[in-house]
Every structure is written in structure tokens, then in C-alpha cells.
Amino acid sequence: MLLIKCPWCGERDMVEFTHGGDATKVYPKDPNATTSEEWHDFIYLRENPCGEHVEYWHHVAGCRQWLKVRRDTTTHDILTTAPADGDLDT
């Protein structure tokens, strides 16, 4: 049972969140200039890293904000969290 630090609500139990998938995949800035290969990569290709990974989580039963979470997939350590449009490293 993970304890996830919501940037707005503080540390909350994972039952308040839903997992939102790989946050390293960014929706194309200019969809009209995006090639088929880039769409394919964005929609279908996902890394399955052993170690640090950046994911979206949705505080769906809390403040309803999406956040980015850097999590270690081998230890389940939550390393940093940030708003969905924020920077995990600051």
C-alpha cells in the first residue's frame, strides 16, 4: 500500500489514487505536424523499466488533480512527485 505525496494534499494512501500510465509519453505539441511513427510511439510503445519510472497518478478520490510520480518499480519507493504539468526535478 503505497503512500503517495500529493503536491496539494500531502501524503495520502494509494486507495485515493488511480494509476494513469507512463508519464514519459507526452501528447504531441503540434498534432498536425506529427508523423505516423510518432503517433505510433506515443500511443503504443511503452518502456517497462526495472528501477526508476515516471508515471501519472490521478488523485481521483481526493483533490482530482493529476500528478507525476517518480517511482522505483523494484522497491516501490516514491522518489518525487509534482503536478502533472510540473517538473519532478525542481
Binding site: 500511443i43 502533472a84 504539468d85
Partner: protein, 973 residues
């Protein structure tokens, strides 16, 4: 005390002044408060308590705690019958009913004991090998095997008791209330930390209750009572007894089950039977103690063979003599405490067999001084007795003549195993200590620490702080896991009593290549019983290590997994049972539907009226009647469950442009528009109408099923992808009751209730406006139609939903207003060819659905780029078509496959499938929608809707999906 021949006159933490009556296999016996079922059975001289899992061998009480592999019983009867309960931890109460299990017809004459004689046909890997026989044979054997190899029988009735869950947070969680745990808890409490202490037993003290020990010169229990009383009185300390921590999860989350009322004869209805605790702790102290390990010697499973520590527990904690003539087999000094306690309690100890060659410790010498022969370098090679042990045969380990000792109790000790389960579950590592002969917790993964016996520190000096125990020096243990048979003998050496796994089974697994501990476990089922291998895992892997010629660290141990002790399903479920299993969402008019004969249908968490019954009607005739009322006059339906999302902000129209396939910027204020949204991969996702209430304010409707997911997606795009858009979204589904009013007379009825002019000119098709409806302010009117008739949808604040509904029924009475349910509504939409969930199934594009024309070319939207992939615009893709039965009367089955010739030999090309079916009241025959490959070009063709499971094939004609009023004239009048 004639009824309890093995009860001692003195000693034990029991209340001899009070007698409790209980039954075991129907025999009435007596015990005392403070007893467990096991101690009471022993006090009454009951040695045989069960039959083993596979061979049905007679088994007795082996331990005095959670490690018990044998004494599993069924407790209670009727709807409270609970199988596989440990007699050794079940507290006795007056009227307790228990019975032995896995025997037929009874414990002494068990039909399946023949399995023992057939044991060479039931080797390790028996199940795997059986599966590999011809598969159809397994079907024959399964019934016999499941009946023969089994555990207790659970009640088939529903559990009448209540369970609950609680969460708690603390600075320090101490698991275990023995000397180390109490010391740690007091240390933390004294510096003001919030402390929770869990003790699985009914009382604190751990092994101090079970031995005659002193602390600071007084009985150790005085110290326990003083410390636990003080702890209980402290404000920030929560003390929980009868509470077993069974799981250690991520981020210092511990789960524990508190047995609130398992020990009371008659339960208090205002208390739960058990309570599941989820405790999040900053720091965890594991003072979980250690469990004594046996030694696998030949014929080591007879009733009367008992862990040495258990024997002195029965004497010291329960005042029960476990045997009158005892032999002790040991490899350590500690077990001699049992010999001393047995002698003090008046038993004879005929011999101590010690595998060590030179025994000269403080405790052994006390035993020797009392005239008990200590045979150094000796081990058991055989035991005699069937329902109870009566003789031990021992022999020097280096070989030599066999000696025989009569006995009724054989105590065994192979040393102590620290209970590292929770430490390991938390991700911590364990290491094997060759000197102590046990696994110890090492590096912790989470903020936790193991102390006392759980860390392999077995003396009181290691556990106490500021107090002094009566430790005595002990000689080193000689790690010993199994003892050999005498030459030519083949006595079974049980490693795992509960699963009937022997040392020979481990050897067989080794010969057959299952040498990794994880394979060994699964192949032999070693350690897979309800005891989780607490007395067997280490022995099993030690035997495997020896066979492989490796040391124990090289072989390693299997991962410890929750639960540490068995947890009832009731505790896991808590309150989430019956109609509390999940929340039920009810519309504001739910009570009215209920009172007016509605049959419900589930729609996610909602319940919606399926149809309203009248005598003699079934779903089809009721829906047909309801539908005709609408088509002929006017009807109302509750559509409050549709998702409603309020969208506000200067960029609201831009957001809709990016979400929906069609354009929204030019939508006038006071207008509604139908929209479809796609998934990012280009497939159709959801549809609904969205209305512009003001320049920067829209109200979106979604399907009932997608209300939550669509909102989450909007939030995702606004927060993660387009944070620059100035828009806010909020779910208002529950804030409004929604009623669709449909039929040619709907305008007449509505006009009488509303403060707007709703003539066709003033309020045309797809108009939307705020209004006052039936005196209800804050209402919204939409002229939208799902039925294809002239129709309106009125939204009012949820609290006024019933008032609005009543007003419509009252005002519409002279027009013959009726109510209709989902079934009739669904028939309307099928008649109109409106797609819904069965067609928007995640595999269809808007082109497939006949909605391709909605796609705006002026802008981008989610999914647009991928929707034009080659495969998604293939003309052979399935398209929505209508079907009618060629004979004009046969129902078409939903889910039927469309084929050209149902009698053709397989494989038959599947051209598509039937998605939705209805009986058209307008056309007076069954109709259907289907997804048909290349369907747009197939109008007029005749196919078969084949349903091979029922051996049915209906001849159907492909038609336009717009069965009724294809040009939509009715809704525009």
C-alpha cells in the same frame, strides 16, 4: 477434578474456580477460563485430535501456538462453522463445540487410513504427475482425491457475524508483547511517541508466561503485569491483544486482525466479531519472537510427540501435564527447561537423548543431578504406538545398539527459529547464522527493526532494559535437522506434518530435479499449509542443501508472504458484504420507481427502471405497452444517470473542439449539439449532447457508464497536456434530476408547466434554455430526442426531481401520460438506429457507426490523426446495419454471428454479429442492429444470424438501421 485427569493441582494462568463445558466430536468435557482448546483436550486426556492430510495418520497436539501443524479442528456448527481452526490458539469458552476433520466415519476408525499403506503411490509431485496422466482420467480421480485429501468443511450458509475495518497511524508500532516488545513499547512511550502494541495472544508476556522465570528476583509475570498495566494507561499508547499482525506491505503498512469476539460464548451484536486493522507506522519494531523447530526422526508424527517448549507451556501456562513418562530429544540446552518443569510437575523423565557428544551445561546438569540419564550423541530411530506414543527406540548417531524407553510423551527440540516473516515481507533480507542454526533478519528495506528472539537474541538480557532476568549460560546448539533410520528400516520422517511431506519426499524432489527451494516447495507442497511451514521450511531446505552438497545459505529460503497466520474471509471483507459490497447509486426518483412496480436493471453502480410491471406482463409486453404510450401520446423516463459535466471558462469551446470530433465554436448560446469523442487511438469513445448555456459555459452529457472516465480524461488533458487552456470542469451528475418527456403530446404537457414559450418557432429542435419548471427555479430545458419523437429533457436541482416527476404525471394525466423504462427507451433508439454501448464497443470507428460525417476538417481533435489509418478506413470494416427477420416474426438473438450459410462445414466465415435487438412497436416485428463487414453495400442481402450454442439460425435481411422516421421529421415538428 476427576473429569480432568491430566490437570495439575497448582500452577498455570487459569481460573480453577470456574469450569467451562465444551464438546469435542460430541464428547462433553470440562476446562477452565484461560485454557485453549488444546490445553483443555490434554487436561482431559485427549491425545488424538486429527488425521493427517494425505495419509490420514493419527495426529496429536504438537505445539502450543500459531505454528501448530496438526491440531486443526472445525469450530462451532451451523452458519458459524469454521474449519481449520488451531486448537492451540482457540480460547476455550463455555459451550464451545469442536470436531476433528479429515476423517470418515470417525477419528479412531478412519476409512482413508489405507492411504498410509498405499503411500508409495502418493509420492511428492503426486498432483503434477496425476495431471500428466491422460486428462480424462483426472476427471475420474479428482472426486476421490478431493474428498480424501482435504481439510475441514466450511459452512455453506452465510456468515451471520459482522466484521469491520479500521485504519490507524502511529509513530512506533510494536509487533509482539513479550519481554522485548514490552520494553520497546515502554521506551518509545516514555519519550512521548504515539505507540501501538499488538499481541496475538490474549495476554502479554510471551514466553514469560510459559516458563518459570524471574525478573529482578520476582516472578517475571509481575514485571509483565506492571509494564502492560502502565502502557495501557498511557494516553498515546494503544494496546491490542488477540491481534495478529499478518501482513507487512509497502511504506510501513501493517495489517492485523483483532479477534474481538471469537472467545466469547454469546456475541454482543453491537461489536464486530473480528476487526481488520491497517496501521501505517513511522517506525516498526518487530518483536515477533521465535518458534521452536523439531527434528525429523523416523516415525516422528505419533500423538504424544510434542515440541519441548510446548510441553512446558502446557505445564506453566495451563497447569496441564502433557505426559507422565517423558523422553526428550534435543540438540540444545534450552530444551532441558522442559525436563526440569516435567520433573517438578511430578512426571518421570526416562531419558534425554542429546545429539551433542559432550553435554555439560548449567541446565543439563540440573537434569542429570535429578537422576535422569542423558544419552550423549543419541538420536531417535523409531517410535512405537498407534493412537499414542508408547515407546522410543534410540541409538548412538555413530551406530550401535538400540535402546528402548517406554514413554507417553516425546519432547523434541531442534533449536529456535526467529519469526522473520514480517521482516521478510517488508522486503528485508534474511541470512543464515550457522552457529545459531537459524535464519536471522539482516538488512531492512523499510523503517523497521527486529529485536529480541525475532533477531536471534534469545536471552532476557537482550530483551530487557533497566531490569535483570535470570539468564543462565548455555552450551552451543548443534544444528540438526533430521536423524537417520536404523539400517534396513524405512520409518517415515515427517518434515511438514500438515502437508504430509517427508524427508524422503524432499529426496525424491531432489532426484527428479526440483532442487531450487521454490520448486521444492511447489513440487512437494512443503510449507504450503495453513501453518505456512513454521516448523518445516527450514528443515526441508536444510535436507535439500545436504542432498545438493551445499550449505544452507547457498540453497537460500523461499520468500515469506502474507498472511503470517490464517485470516478469515469475513475479516477481509469487513462491511463490504451484501448490498454494502459496493455503493448503490439511486436517482432522485428512485423511491417512486420502487413504489410503482418497476423492475430494476443495473447500470454500473446505478439501478435504473427496466420496465414497470402490470399483471400478466413480461418485459417485452410491458416495454411494448410503454413504448406505444409514448408514440401515441406522451411518456416520461428518468434519465438522471446520464453523466453531466459543467464546463466553464473562456477556452471552453476550444476544449470541446479538441475533445469532440465535431466543431463547437460556432454553436450559438441556447443551443445543444450532439457530439462524439474518440480515444487517442482513433476508436469511438463516448457520445452525448452538449449545450451552450452562455458564451463561456457549457453543460456536457455523457453516457451513464462513461461519466467518471470522461471527467477524468478532461481533467487529464487540462492539467497535463493543455494547462494553458482557461477552463474548469466539474461533475454535476448528482446535482440534477433529469427527465425525458417524449411523444407527440409532450409539448402540450410541458407548456403547461414551464415559464418559456416552447412553440416550435420559439424553441426549436436542439434548443436549450434555463427556465422555471413547475415552480422549480434553476431548471434547464433541452429540446433533444433519443426516442425520435417530439421530445424534451428537463433538468431540475436533484432535490426537486420527485416534484418535477409528480408535476408531469399530474399535468399530463388528461393526455394519458405514461412512464417508461430502459427497455422501451432502448427499443426506441434501435428503431431510430442510434448507436449505444453495444455498438460503441471500443473496436468501432465513427465511420463504422455511420457518424463519419461529424468529423470536422477544420481542426484537430483527440484521436483524429489515428482514425484515418489505413486499417480504420478499410471499406471492408464492419458497419452498423439494420436486420429484419425474413419471416417477419422470429426474434434475432443478440450476439448471433452473421453468416451466409449456417450449414457450411467449419470454419465458416463470420461476416459480423448482432449487437442490439428489440421488438418494434411501430413495425410490429422484431428488429436488430448489427455490425456487418462492408455493411453499407449489403442492403437487401439475405444472411443468417446463427447462434450455434442454441442450434439456431434466423434468416435475416440487411436493411437501413433507421427503421422509423428515417428523416427525423417527428422530432422537428
Amino acid at each position: 477434578m476427576t473429569g480432568q485427569p491430566w490437570r495439575l493441582e497448582n500452577g498455570g494462568h487459569i481460573d480453577r474456580s470456574c469450569s467451562l463445558s465444551f464438546a469435542f466430536d460430541g464428547k462433553i468435557m470440562e476446562g477452565h477460563p484461560g485454557d485453549t482448546l488444546a490445553s483443555a483436550l490434554l487436561a482431559n486426556g485427549t491425545r488424538l485430535v486429527g488425521r493427517s492430510f494425505k495419509y490420514h495418520r493419527p495426529r496429536g497436539i504438537f505445539s502450543a501456538g500459531v505454528e501448530e501443524p496438526n491440531a486443526l479442528v472445525e469450530l462451532r456448527t451451523g452458519n458459524r462453522q469454521e474449519p481449520n481452526s488451531l486448537a492451540t490458539t482457540t480460547e476455550l469458552f463455555d459451550g464451545l463445540e469442536a470436531s476433528s476433520q479429515n476423517r470418515w466415519p470417525n477419528l479412531r476408525f478412519d476409512f482413508s487410513q489405507v492411504n498410509g499403506a498405499l503411500s508409495r503411490f502418493l509420492p511428492a509431485g503426486f498432483y503434477y504427475k496425476t495431471f500428466m496422466w491422460p486428462a480424462n482420467l483426472w476427471l475420474t480421480y479428482e472426486h476421490f482425491i478431493r474428498k480424501a485429501a482435504g481439510m475441514g468443511i466450511a459452512s455453506r450458509e452465510s456468515d451471520p457475524d459482522r466484521y469491520e475495518s479500521r485504519s490507524a497511524h502511529c509513530d512506533v508500532l510494536v509487533v509482539g508483547g513479550g519481554p522485548a516488545g514490552l520494553t520497546a513499547a515502554m521506551t518509545a512511550a516514555e519519550i512521548g511517541e504515539r505507540v501501538i502494541v499488538l499481541e496475538q495472544a490474549p495476554h502479554f508476556g510471551g514466553w514469560l508466561r510459559r516458563e518459570k522465570r524471574t525478573i529482578d528476583g520476582s516472578p517475571a509475570m509481575d514485571w509483565v503485569d506492571a509494564v502492560s498495566t502502565r502502557l495501557s494507561a498511557m494516553a498515546d499508547v494503544r494496546v491490542l491483544t488477540r491481534t495478529s499482525a499478518f501482513g507487512y506491505y509497502d511504506h510501513n503498512m501493517i495489517t492485523a486482525v483483532e479477534r474481538v469476539q471469537d472467545h466469547v460464548p454469546k456475541s454482543d451484536p453491537f461489536l464486530p466479531r473480528q476487526r481488520l486493522w491497517s496501521i501505517r507506522a513511522k517506525r516498526v519494531v518487530l518483536a515477533t519472537g521465535a518458534v521452536e523447530q523439531p527434528i525429523a526422526f523416523p516415525e516422528n508424527d505419533r500423538p504424544g510427540v510434542m515440541l519441548a517448549g510446548a510441553a512446558r507451556t502446557y505445564i506453566n501456562e495451563y497447569g496441564v501435564l502433557p505426559g507422565r513418562m517423558a523422553v526428550l530429544q534435543t540438540n540444545n540446552d534450552n530444551a532441558y527447561r522442559s525436563a526440569i518443569d516435567l520433573l517438578d510437575a511430578g512426571a518421570r523423565v526416562t531419558a534425554v537423548l542429546d545429539v551433542r557428544d559432550h553435554v555439560d551445561g548449567h541446565l543439563p546438569n540440573q537434569v542429570r543431578d535429578r537422576g535422569v540419564p542423558i544419552l550423549q550423541g543419541y538420536g531417535v530411530v523409531e517410535t512405537k504406538g498407534y493412537f499414542a506414543i508408547r515407546q522410543v527406540l534410540a541409538r548412538p548417531l555413530v551406530g550401535g545398539p538400540v535402546r528402548r524407553y517406554d514413554c507417553d510423551l516425546l519432547c523434541v527440540s531442534g533449536g529456535w527459529a526467529p519469526q522473520v516473516h514480517l521482516h521478510s515481507q517488508s522486503g528485508g533480507k534474511v541470512v543464515f547464522d550457522a552457529e545459531k542454526g537459524c535464519f536471522l533478519p539482516s538488512e531492512a528495506r523499510q523503517n523497521c527493526v527486529s529485536i529480541g528472539s525475532a533477531a536471534g537474541l534469545f536471552t532476557l538480557k537482550d530483551c530487557l532494559k533497566g531490569a535483570n532476568g535470570d539468564d543462565v549460560p548455555e552450551q552451543a546448539i548443534k544444528p540438526t535437522w533430521s536423524l537417520p533410520n536404523a539400517p534396513g528400516r524405512h520409518g517415515k520422517r515427517f518434515v511438514d506434518f500438515q502437508d504430509d511431506v517427508t524427508a524422503e519426499d524432499v529426496a525424491l524432489a531432489h532426484r527428479e530435479g526440483y532442487v531450487s527451494v521454490e520448486h521444492l516447495k511447489r513440487y512437494t507442497t512443503l510449507g504450503m499449509g495453513t501453518d505456512q511451514g513454521k516448523t518445516s521450511n527450514v528443515i526441508g531446505l536444510a535436507i535439500m542443501a545436504k542432498l545438493k552438497g551445499q550449505n544452507i545459505p547457498a540453497v537460500g529460503t523461499t520468500k515469506f508472504r502474507p498472511p503470517y497466520t490464517a485470516v478469515s474471509m469475513g475479516a477481509m471483507a469487513g462491511r463490504a458484504v451484501g448490498h454494502h459490497f459496493q455503493p448503490l447509486r439511486r436517482s432522485p426518483m428512485d423511491n417512486w420507481h420502487h413504489d410503482n412496480g418497476c423492475k430494476w436493471v443495473d447500470a454500473g453502480l446505478w439501478r435504473r427502471p427496466h420496465f414497470y410491471t402490470r399483471p400478466g406482463e413480461d418485459v417485452n409486453s410491458a416495454a411494448l405497452r410503454e413504448g406505444r404510450t409514448v408514440r401515441a401520446g406522451v411518456g416520461i423516463v428518468d434519465v438522471s444517470t446520464l453523466g453531466k459535466i459543467d464546463i466553464q471558462g473562456p477556452d471552453a469551446a476550444e476544449l470541446l473542439n479538441r475533445i469532440y470530433v465535431n466543431g463547437w465554436k460556432k454553436l450559438a448560446v441556447g443551443k445543444a449539439r450532439y457530439g462524439v469523442m474518440l480515444r487517442e487511438d482513433g476508436m469511438a469513445y463516448d457520445d452525448g449532447t452538449t449545450s451552450r448555456l452562455s458564451e463561456n459555459h457549457f453543460i456536457m452529457t455523457t453516457t451513464t457508464a462513461n461519466a467518471g472516465p470522461v471527467l477524468a480524461k478532461l481533467e487529464y488533458y487540462l492539467q497535463a497536456v493543455w494547462p494553458e487552456l482557461r477552463v474548469q470542469v466539474a461533475c454535476v451528475t448528482d446535482q440534477y434530476a433529469a427527465i425525458a418527456v417524449a411523444g407527440p403530446k409532450s409539448r402540450d404537457v410541458m407548456q403547461r408547466l414551464i415559464d418559456l414559450d416552447i412553440s416550435n418557432d420559439a424553441f426549436p429542435f436542439m434548443a436549450a434554455a434555463p427556465c422555471c419548471f413547475a415552480g422549480i427555479a434553476g431548471a434547464r430545458l433541452f429540446r433533444i430526442s433519443f426516442s425520435g419523437e417530439l421530445a424534451y429533457e428537463i433538468n431540475v436541482p436533484a432535490d426537486y426531481g420527485q416534484a418535477a416527476w409528480n408535476a408531469l404525471l399530474e399535468t399530463g394525466r388528461e393526455d394519458g401520460v405514461g412512464v417508461y423504462g430502459i427497455e422501451a427507451m432502448s427499443a426506441f433508439r434501435i428503431e431510430k438506429g442510434h448507436v449505444a454501448g453495444p455498438e460503441i464497443n471500443g473496436q468501432t470507428t465513427i465511420g463504422d457507426l455511420g457518424l463519419g460525417g461529424l468529423q470536422s476538417e477544420q481542426k484537430h481533435n483527440i484521436g483524429k490523426s489515428l482514425a484515418i489509418r489505413e486499417g480504420l478506413i478499410d471499406p471492408a470494416r464492419p458497419a452498423v446495419v439494420g436486420l429484419v427477420p425474413v419471416d417477419g416474426k422470429t426474434w434475432i438473438k443478440a450476439g448471433a454471428q452473421l453468416v451466409e450459410n449456417p450449414d457450411a462445414p467449419p470454419p465458416v466465415a463470420m461476416l459480423g454479429h448482432v449487437t442490439s435487438i428489440a421488438y418494434s412497436g411501430e413495425l410490429n416485428h422484431p428488429i436488430a442492429l448489427a455490425l456487418l463487414s462492408g455493411g453499407k453495400e449489403r442492403a437487401g442481402e439475405e444472411l443468417y444470424a446463427a447462434f450455434p450454442l442454441r442450434n439456431e439460425a434466423v434468416r435475416v435481411r440487411v436493411v437501413s438501421p433507421h427503421f422509423v422516421d428515417p428523416d427525423g421529421e417527428r422530432m422537428r415538428v
